[in-house]
Amino acid sequence: MSEDKGNFSRRDFFKGAAMGVLGGTALAMGLYSYSPWRKSYFPEVKRKMTDIGVCKSVKVTNISETSWFKNAVLMGDIKAAGGLLVNQYTYNWPPFGDGTGLGKGSYEKGIAKIKHLLPNNLEEAWRTTEKLSVSPDNAGGFAALIEVEEMNGRKRKFLLDSGWSYKWMDESFKREGIDQMLKNNEIEALIISHEHFDHFWGVPVTFKYAPNITTYYPQGFYPEGLQYLKDAGHKGKLIQVKSGALNPIIPGLATYNFPVPIICRVYGEQSIYANVKDHGLVSITGCCHFGIIQFSETAFREITYEKNQLYGIYGGLHISPFEDWDPKYDDLVISLGKYNYQKIGCNHCTGVLCAKKFIERGYPVQKGTARFRSPDPAYLGNGDRIGFGIEV
């Protein structure tokens, strides 16, 4: 009796019908809400709506977004070493090369070659590791300078990440005057977004100029990463940013650590949120590995911000670490539009063509000047700046 309902096909009947057709039956009344096997569906979790305060403006200077110079070489190395699940410390990339070849390295053997030179003799350390590592010329790095203007006008500086190649990062630091700022204690803290080679392995460059700088790192660092912070010459305050909770830094500035596995055996990425008065929330990310969509939704859930507006974004924008089950949503260009960002500075892992498509679509992308090895003006490139709440 149940199988053969005569000619009644539910699919045919309901196609195009309004829900009201079910009328006032027990069905419409919510039969679903009664069931011996139904537990309460949604637990009591509130929207956190934390107030992180406000600031007047935020300026971001791109110290370097060119994490590596040839994608082909990087991807080739990763693939040959065994793929995206392989521990990054085993690649035999600089600065942890030990001369045994791609995929056969380790943190311990690598650091042993250069530890005694860190952080004060980086030239020699890099020369040493170049000879022992795979693809040393491909290493660049990601780092950005963040200048927050408080409501009272006082300006405060922070460093997001410290890149990869000692050589390239030192050059980039000098170009932007970061070395002087660090020496003069103008930069209050180093915020490390995540343990990836292109954001973290260049920390000796920062510690050379400011070994006592307060350093924030995300919970989720592996033992090698914690050890490297010591071996790289850090002497200052070390603060672990717990995952899944807002970490306030100064009024209007906070970080949030997303506890997710990331490729190449990394875990957790913290991103920066700034609440700019009369404008809205600004997000500054390293790679946004977990996806810009997740990032934006989390902001919405966790923080209260000016004008309820997601105002700006700077950094590398990944769409998502995994494939959507519907191909037409696997498109960052379409997805980004939903959030209505008012000012976008993108680079690094975003993809040049993707950035160009943003521009073609009329998204408010601030273009760059494609200098110092940045590939294209669609990127906010090396040496370029972007201001939120301030013109640069």
Binding site: W37, K79, E323
Partner: protein, 625 residues
């Protein structure tokens, strides 16, 4: 099978999960599930072998959830966190599991009327994507519960599920709905409102999740339990809703244990029932695996770890990278296409190798000479070498593991001539298709001046009519018609700057799930599922109930209309005992012995573009005895 010893030191939990279960159980359990799901997606081969066909995270103001597709099911699964607790040294998380059938699936008939109504709404898929925003969606499609538990010492991990064999509600007085000008019986008195086969579907998802856990832990479970209790059904009339025992329904609990832990005590806590179980199956360590569980993916998942040591049999996938031939005149937009393609793949951490020949080097017979592997800007390529195509491919494969190989030919080359050479590469690469980029602006000129232009179009499986932005609509349609006249078989896409979303044409087999093939309780009619995409592309799956007549089938295949772009499936002919893997791309097909006798599903997935009335009927006919 390798030893299932559970050495506690081997449990690699902390390698892929670094949450804090002591201080914040609720967040930690969500984080643990997140880690299991996400890390299983990183390697394309692994995620495919584990059974994933797409995952999306849903974050709302309240909680975190997921939607996913898995192998074998056309619909979408929804998972959301329900609750957590600490008990007896364990931290436990419970998650609700829902199944949102595809609108065309036969399973819709077994959903409740209300759920069936939802599934036919035009905005159904958006509601599914955002199911967390709507509690009703999550609950009326609910099929079971998943449990994750970690002991405080982190030496043991438990993954479990609970589901009813059938979720049933009976309308005592029947249900009448407006239709056909009057009222009709949607449900006869005493008939079934919901009669959904929840258990089998919950088990399927559980298998993929457990395989992912085995994969991440690099360890096999060492403990298994299945216990059944008598189940209930709901009976309602206008006034009352009550649950009553149902003799044919069971409430089934399954649990898997990894590492060393007191799983029995934990299991009793989770079950929490006073009633007497009707059946129990137990397994641990050295026993023989119970029959119903012998072929579960979670036993072999740990070996998916290193691509280089993959066992093809175990993984059921083809390790050879696909080879795509890219042809078209200089300036047509091949490089633009390549750039888009490579960037798309790179963003998803996939590696593309491109082989390009030197411009102008063509032998007397039109065959390409001197294959050099060169660098292209953003991204793919590798070494520089001269020599023939086979050597180029071998060299690439020996140093890298590309996810795609693209062979880019120049304007003067005739891709038809390549096909011989390509067939010689069969052991190394899987020839996928030929893409020809056509310049809409200069089409007429090319066609009238260069005979090779016609051949390039003829050879294509996919035609990109490019530079559409530089040409008027009328000319564009005329050009499209010209292309279709020369090559009625190929799928034509109109593009600007060579931009074609690869996921529409190249990932297809990854994502189009083969539909629900195990609808429990239905008799073996040919059930059909059609999945629509844009650009006129659609996908339909046919179940095949009987072995077919080989001659009849092949003659239909050989005369398939051009609308059909790809077909793939596991079929059987009446003249051979072994199952056969059938792969068809734009007029070419391949039959090979399918080496897995335990897979009993027989089906064909058809992917086509545009309308083709009677097409599916034709194939049905070929499939019938």
């Amino acid at each position: 099978m390798e030893s299932r010893c559970n050495d506690i030191h081997a449990m690699k939990l902390r390698d892929f999960f670094r949450g804090d279960i002591r201080n914040d159980a609720q967040s930690a359990m969500q984080e643990l599930l997140r880690a299991i799901l996400i890390r299983a997606q990183f390697d394309p081969g692994a995620r495919h072998a584990l059974g994933w066909r797409g995952l999306k995270q849903s974050v709302t103001t309240a909680i975190e959830g997921w939607t996913a597709r898995i192998d074998g099911y056309a619909g979408v699964f929804g998972i959301c966190f329900n609750s957590s607790k600490k008990e007896n040294g364990w931290v436990i998380g419970a998650f609700n599991l829902s199944y949102f059938p595809d609108a065309e699936e036969a399973l819709v008939e077994r959903c409740s009327l209300r759920a069936a109504a939802y599934s036919q709404r035009p905005e159904y898929m958006s509601l599914v994507r955002d199911f967390l925003q709507n509690e009703e969606m999550a609950s009326i499609f609910s099929i079971g519960t998943l449990f994750l538990a970690l002991d405080i010492q982190e030496q043991a991990l438990y993954l479990g599920m609970e589901s009813l064999t059938v979720q049933r509600s009976i309308a005592r007085n029947g249900v009448k709905l407006p239709g056909n000008g009057g009222m009709i019986w949607a449900i006869e008195p005493g008939g079934y409102d919901q009669d959904f086969p929840s258990l089998s579907i919950t088990r399927a998802f559980f298998e993929v999740l457990a395989a992912s856990l085995s994969f991440n832990l690099e360890q096999l479970p060492g403990w298994l339990i299945e216990r059944c209790y008598p189940g209930m059904e709901i009976v309602y009339d206008d006034g009352k809703i009550q649950s009553t025992p149902a003799s044919d329904i069971e409430d089934v609990f399954v649990g898997l244990g990894y590492g060393e832990g007191r799983f029995d005590a934990l299991f009793e806590t989770l079950v929490g029932k006073d009633s007497v179980p009707s059946n129990e199956i137990r397994w641990c360590g050295t026993d023989k695996i119970p029959e119903g569980y012998m072929h579960m993916r979670w036993w072999c998942a740990p070996r998916v770890k290193n691509r280089r040591t993959l066992n093809k049999e175990v993984l059921r996938i083809d390790e050879r990278p696909p080879l795509i031939i890219l042809s078209g005149f200089l300036g047509a937009g091949k490089t633009s296409f390549l750039q888009h393609f490579i960037e798309y793949q790179t963003q998803r951490s996939r590696f593309v190798a491109v082989i390009q020949n030197e411009i102008g080097d063509v032998g007397l017979d039109g065959k390409l000479l001197d294959y050099k592997v060169v660098e292209i800007d953003e991204g793919c390529v590798c070494c520089s070498l001269a020599g023939n195509l086979k050597r180029a491919v071998q060299d690439i494969l020996s140093s890298f593991q590309p996810d795609f190989i693209i062979l880019e030919t120049t304007g003067a080359a005739n891709p038809l001539n390549l096909l011989d050479e390509i067939s010689g590469l069969e052991a190394l690469v899987r020839y996928d298709c030929t893409v020809t980029v056509v310049d809409a602006v200069n089409l007429n000129h090319s066609l009238s001046h260069f005979s090779v232009a016609v051949d390039q179009i003829k050879a294509a499986d996919i035609l990109l009519l490019n530079k559409s932005d530089l040409v008027r609509e009328a000319c564009l349609q005329k050009a499209r018609q010209q292309l279709q006249d020369i090559n009625p078989q190929a799928a034509v896409f109109i593009t600007e700057q060579g931009d074609l979303n690869p996921s529409l044409v190249f990932d297809m087999e990854e994502r189009w799930a083969k539909g629900n093939l195990s609808s429990a309780g239905t008799n073996s009619k040919l059930s059909v599922h059609r999945y629509h995409s844009h650009d006129g592309l659609w996908c339909q799956t046919l179940e095949i109930a009987h072995p077919m007549d080989r001659k009849k089938f092949l003659s239909v295949v050989e005369s398939l209309p051009p609308a059909i772009f790809r077909m793939k499936g596991i079929i059987e002919f009446s003249d051979t005992p072994q199952p056969i893997l059938f792969q068809y791309v734009a007029g070419r097909f391949e039959l090979s012995v399918f080496p897995r006798p335990e897979i009993v599903d027989r089906f064909l997935i058809v992917i086509a573009q545009g309308e083709a009335p009677g097409l599916v009927g034709k194939i049905y006919e070929a499939c019938s005895r």
